[in-house]
Subunit: 351 residues, 3 copies
């Protein structure tokens, strides 16, 4: 029945300009402040503190009208049962190892200032396409969640929260468990402070010349935020390892969201470094302004600068996971990445 | 306007384990008890007993967030006009020859115990991909429906019900009418009893070496159910023919849904046999348990065993039409199918 | 929250018969009277006359359940801010040069009688696939809109209305701006009369042998309608140019929607002509009947005749943009297009 379904979402569009490696691009993009999405969710009270919950949410590329990625409800697709024991959730969702990279980023993982440009994802940080740790969402997951509102993503209130996730690799017996993921996140929030730590490992495809031997990837990260008088301060640090190639990527970032009248000023500095001979890496500095037209709607702008070090190949991911603007293709085609600058101006509304 | 649209659906996820032919697979799957789906429907009262109705329903693979099949609203996509004369419905829908295989199956065509594993569909029962009789849904259909609630699928109440369907092949004049389907279903329900018979024929692609000569497929089936004190008993039987290859598949099944406190115990035995020299075929026995958390939400489990006879190649279809878990591929790759066992444990909620 | 989202749409299905060039086809089609669609939209009042608006609308091929085109919300996908200054809208939408071809067509651009069969679109009027002017919708647009209801498509009331649109080509610096579009539409409505003029130009792909030189296309059109006692009269005229090939297409049409009791009789005559040596072109005459079952639901029928002149290759586009019934393929495969006739009978409901 209709009464049990809530239609919800975010629409966010901006005009962006990016330049890097001697070329530039002006585009209409999405999700510069929040992730464009459309979803359907509901909760049924089963009595005795129990509830059944579902959440189907599409990521949208609203500049073209397409949904992002290959699956319609690519942002989340879950059914769960929750009670005093916590919540058991089945389906596609964000893995525990992903949250700290976004929650403790002053830009919330959105727009040209997103820390994830250089700290995670997009194939540019040592995780390839067959490694679940490279993904911001995983399929076939089962989670146990504690201290979080049923069907939700944020802590009940003060106290401990966390989740454990296992991703079924769905391999046939006798073959490599490619896609298997095991991860956990443990956090604590109390008044102005919030902090969480996460560890995960996953199995990727065998390397060339190592048939049958799947690679094990490991991801450790932690982050925190603290609200002082005029700002919410954020910091995060993380390290990604691959056991076969023995590659290691470390990244860290600090930031703040400074309260400014009817809006706020996000500012952040992020850095990443690889353990290869050249010591490839990148730094990113970003600052923006978000003006609240209402509780649900904002105008925003940001400017971000990436400085690649040595042979670093970091660039801007763009809206909704990087699939949209094709910036990587534009900037990466056989030319030095060098330094790059991105800026945007847009509007975001939540419904 | 919003008031005229109902958002509805089902979410169902389970953890399943399948073994067959010497290999096994553990997966997160969908639709083990009911078909995961999301839909939009509405009815407008036109006065004088007339109504205009629409129904758009997607089949979901909620373990990945994708919609099943190639069309978004693949479960149903119809507009209709209904009145005292019955209902005329246009668009994609389940064909009349499909219903008895599911309505009179104790497992309702869902999960490892589904009768359809061996009685219909999936390419393993002699119907190939170009034959509409192999499909659980057909495009470009026009139906006349009698005795069924407008826009619905179940009988008004006691009495006769039925539908006639024609599928436009949409071929250019002078070419074979591949995809044409003509079918009917006639049923009668009265208090504890329900029974229906169906006949359909369709045209598939020409066979190799028989250009211009499209194959005619025929499907006859009937089924019934009867509620006695402690259970709902079900039975069905059917036969599929192909006129060119003269192949014939017969199948039958009996089952029961035994009422057990706040839940029920579905149990079924199904059998199928081909008319080829080897007499290929299969038997399936399945038993489960469904526990009602509420009217809308259940926990469920089932175990099912398929025993292939002679060179039978039957296996489990998996959630939402078999496209999801890739069991056929896992179990069928050049190895004997042998016997197989499937089991699942999951949750289903309806909204 | 749910209260801020409206689910809306149109479902329209018909049975159509088309014949042309010696072959014929009977199909179940969509959108013979109105565009089958499903959408989600909302408006937030920001105070001071300001509002934030979004509109996500899919085009549906409800005979198969698919969404039309390559993007889910292919009919419209926009976010906007509106106020006393007008409206600024970002995202995918209909371009200004498209409206007059449909608003001032007695058949509203739908069904076999649609003026657009010969006046615009579909690859048959000199605009190829890389030219935004060939599209009924464009991606990556920014618009300024005046005199139109916020988030809407129709004028506030009596007075001037219009919009300016720019489409970002999103090309990398130093490459051709393929896909760039700049267009405007200016109209005036007052009581029974409505008229509008539009001009647009766009850049298509370079022609063979002219690398680096993108083609500039130009489109000029105007139209009007006037309600007299028994009918709404419509007329439109337009011309499309290509600067490199120096091709020019001119088209015009007149029509009326005659009020007839509980329904109306649309009738139209359209003509198009190319400036090539042979003087290719076509005429189309169409008449129909629309019977209102209610304010939201109609039954309809229409018959339309296209007469190709010289080597004209015009044919029927079919439902929802021509992608559905494959008529072009059926009728155009190496045979003379000749004259063609199309007819349909269907039902359309709006919700």
């Amino acid at each position: 029945a209709q009464s049990s379904v809530t239609v919800f979402g975010v629409l966010d569009a901006d005009i962006s300009h990016y330049s890097q490696g001697g070329v530039s691009k002006t585009i209409e993009s999405t999700s510069g402040n929040g992730p464009s999405s459309l979803g359907f969710r509901g909760t049924e009270d089963l009595g005795g503190g129990l509830s059944a919950n579902f959440w189907m949410e599409a990521a949208l590329l609203n500049d073209t009208g397409a949904f992002a990625g290959s699956a319609l409800f690519g942002r989340r697709s879950t059914i769960s049962i929750a009670g005093n024991f916590g919540e058991v959730r089945l389906g596609r969702d964000a893995p525990p190892s992903w949250w700290n990279n976004v929650v403790f980023d002053a830009f919330g993982g959105a727009g040209p200032g997103s820390a994830t440009n250089i700290t995670k994802g997009g194939g540019s940080n040592g995780f390839n396409g067959t490694n679940p740790l490279a993904f911001t969402r995983v399929n076939n997951a089962i989670q146990y969640i504690w201290g979080v509102a049923p069907n939700g993503q944020t802590a009940f209130g003060n106290g401990i929260y966390g989740n454990l996730m296992y991703v079924f690799p769905e391999n046939v017996s006798g073959t490599a468990a490619i896609g298997q993921y095991t991860g956990a996140r443990l956090g604590y929030t109390n008044g102005p402070m919030n902090a969480a730590v996460s560890y995960a490992q996953s199995k990727g495809a065998p390397l060339p010349g190592a048939a049958g031997l799947s690679t094990t990837f490991k991801d450790f990260n932690l982050g925190g935020s603290y609200v002082v008088g005029v700002a919410k301060l954020t910091a995060h640090v993380g390290v990604n390892n691959s056991d076969v190639t023995r590659t290691k990527y470390t990244h860290w970032g600090v930031g703040a969201s400074i309260f400014a009248g009817a809006g706020s000023i996000p500012v952040s500095y992020n850095s990443t470094k690889q353990n290869n001979a050249a010591g490839d890496g990148a730094d990113q500095f970003a600052i923006g302004y978000v003006y609240n037209l209402s509780k649900r709607t904002v105008l925003y702008t940001a400017i971000s600068h990436i400085r690649n070090k040595n042979n670093g190949t970091y660039t801007f991911l763009g809206g909704n996971g990087g699939g949209n603007p094709g910036l990587q293709t534009a900037f990466g085609g056989g030319r030095s990445f060098g330094s790059g600058t991105g800026t945007d101006f847009g509007i975001r509304t939540t419904f």
